[in-house]
């Protein structure tokens, strides 16, 4: 049981959601936007978070779309990981989402919720980083669109009162050669020791990681080393590993040395596969 009370507001428009957030905030209710709600419920039950009002955005029309619009695939923040997988419009995102928690949870977790969650892995962001997707956000200042690699730095940097409406990805990138690999300590259903998404774009390998640092990331420095094609693959990988932006976690799930060992072997493998 969640040991505190809150108000539940189901918004039917972007403007309504933003207005309710503002109103609740003025009343000191520490409002939260609510997508699938799995993290809010589970962390609320443990009293790790508290709120006086949630604003459910799932029924806002723009948050429910999943369709090609012109040159872009547009996916609403309220679309579930299962819906993304069933449509398979973005195969790499479908694969990444299909390894978040378990299948039943994926029926509830939304794309926006996964991107904005506090759990450090947020694996659905990896394909979006690789494809330089755009994030459409709403807030008191209206709607704005940002490159995800600008908006996301260790976490989604949203201002108070803002929420994600949609993700836009260039249609031409959706089905490029790609690889998704997730390694866990034991069972398939578990947080990652390492999740790696890679894609080949214009002859260059792009790679993004979860579990390798305390946040998911894509590193231009690592990609630069990986794409020095005149150098042997093993050496490129060793050089790339020196560019990891933060310390590798060293905990009961796996030592830093073990994660590094897995990373090296996976990177060599994906270079061989994507470079053919």
């Amino acid at each position: 049981m969640i040991p505190f009370d809150f108000e539940y507001h189901r918004a039917d428009s972007i403007d309504t959601a933003v207005q309710i957030f503002s109103d609740m905030d003025k009343q000191g209710k520490n409002p939260m936007y609510y997508g699938g709600g799995t993290e809010i419920i589970s962390m609320g039950r443990m009293a790790n978070i508290s709120t006086g009002a949630v604003i459910d955005i799932k029924e806002i029309a723009q948050c429910k779309v999943q369709e090609i619009q012109g040159d872009h695939l547009v996916i609403g923040a309220g679309v579930t990981l299962t819906q993304i997988r069933e449509s398979n419009l973005f195969p790499l995102l479908a694969q990444a989402g299909a390894r978040v928690a378990d299948h039943t949870i994926q029926n509830k977790v939304t794309l926006g919720g996964n991107l904005c969650g506090t759990i450090i892995y947020r694996e659905a962001i990896l394909p979006l980083l690789l494809t330089d997707s755009e994030v459409v956000i709403a807030g008191p200042e209206g709607s704005k669109t940002f490159p995800i690699n600008q908006l996301f730095n260790q976490r989604m940097n949203l201002n108070k009162g803002e929420f994600i409406i949609q993700i836009r990805t260039l249609k031409s990138l959706l089905s490029l050669p790609h690889i998704h690999v997730k390694r866990t300590k034991e069972d398939k259903i578990h947080y990652p020791l390492l999740t790696l998404c890679a894609m080949k774009v214009d002859g260059q390998v792009r790679a993004a990681f979860s579990g390798l640092c305390d946040y998911p990331f894509r590193s231009p420095d690592m990609e630069s080393e990986l794409n020095k094609s005149a150098t042997a693959a093993e050496q490129r990988v060793d050089n790339a590993i020196t560019k990891i932006p933060s310390p590798i976690p060293n905990n009961l799930e796996g030592s830093a040395e073990y994660r590094s060992f897995i990373l090296r072997s996976l990177l060599i493998s994906i270079l061989n596969e994507l470079e053919g």
């Binding site: 189901r10 928690a101 299948h103």
Partner: protein, 157 residues
């Protein structure tokens, strides 16, 4: 726009019957089913979305009712284990001895029922993946897999 503030009545469509129940906005669907409506088939296990003992169908899809607010379910069709009556998957669980203590069984059956409805031609891979959403401490996984395969096989004739 829909808002629900303070304890009050909501209407839930459960097993084809619209029922009014008194809940707080912060109450989970699992709590409402068990403590307010007396539908104790959905079991509280981890209450953290891990074990699957509380699985119900919402609009035909398996959902862990511990991770859904009762108020979120307003306007949707909920099916609990009490809403199934001698279905092929229930019979198959008996025939294949697909349980021991039985605590996880309602959640497994609801997940299997969702799978049968949505993927009547499910591959072994899909079956394996769906069943990973539920935990059976008595380790009846092989028998449960046999039960669901027998239903899928029979539905092809």
């Amino acid at each position: 726009m829909y808002q629900f503030i303070g304890e009050g009545l909501i209407e839930l469509n459960i097993n084809g019957i619209v029922r009014k129940t008194l809940v707080r906005p912060a109450d989970t669907l699992l709590y409402a089913l068990r403590e307010r409506l007396g539908l104790t088939g959905a079991k509280p296990g981890c209450e953290n979305g891990d074990c699957g003992a509380c699985t119900v169908l919402v609009d035909g899809w398996p959902i862990k009712s511990c991770l859904m607010l009762a108020v979120e379910a307003v306007g949707h069709e909920i099916t609990t284990i009490e809403g199934l009556d001698k279905t092929p998957i229930q019979n198959a669980f008996i025939e294949k001895f697909a349980f021991q203590c039985g605590y996880c069984t309602p959640g497994f059956i609801m997940n299997c029922q969702g799978l049968i409805n949505i993927h009547p031609d499910a591959s072994d891979e899909i079956i394996h993946e769906w069943l990973q959403s539920n935990i059976c401490r008595c380790t009846s996984y092989q028998e449960i897999t046999e039960a669901i395969k027998s239903v899928l096989q029979n539905s092809k004739f």
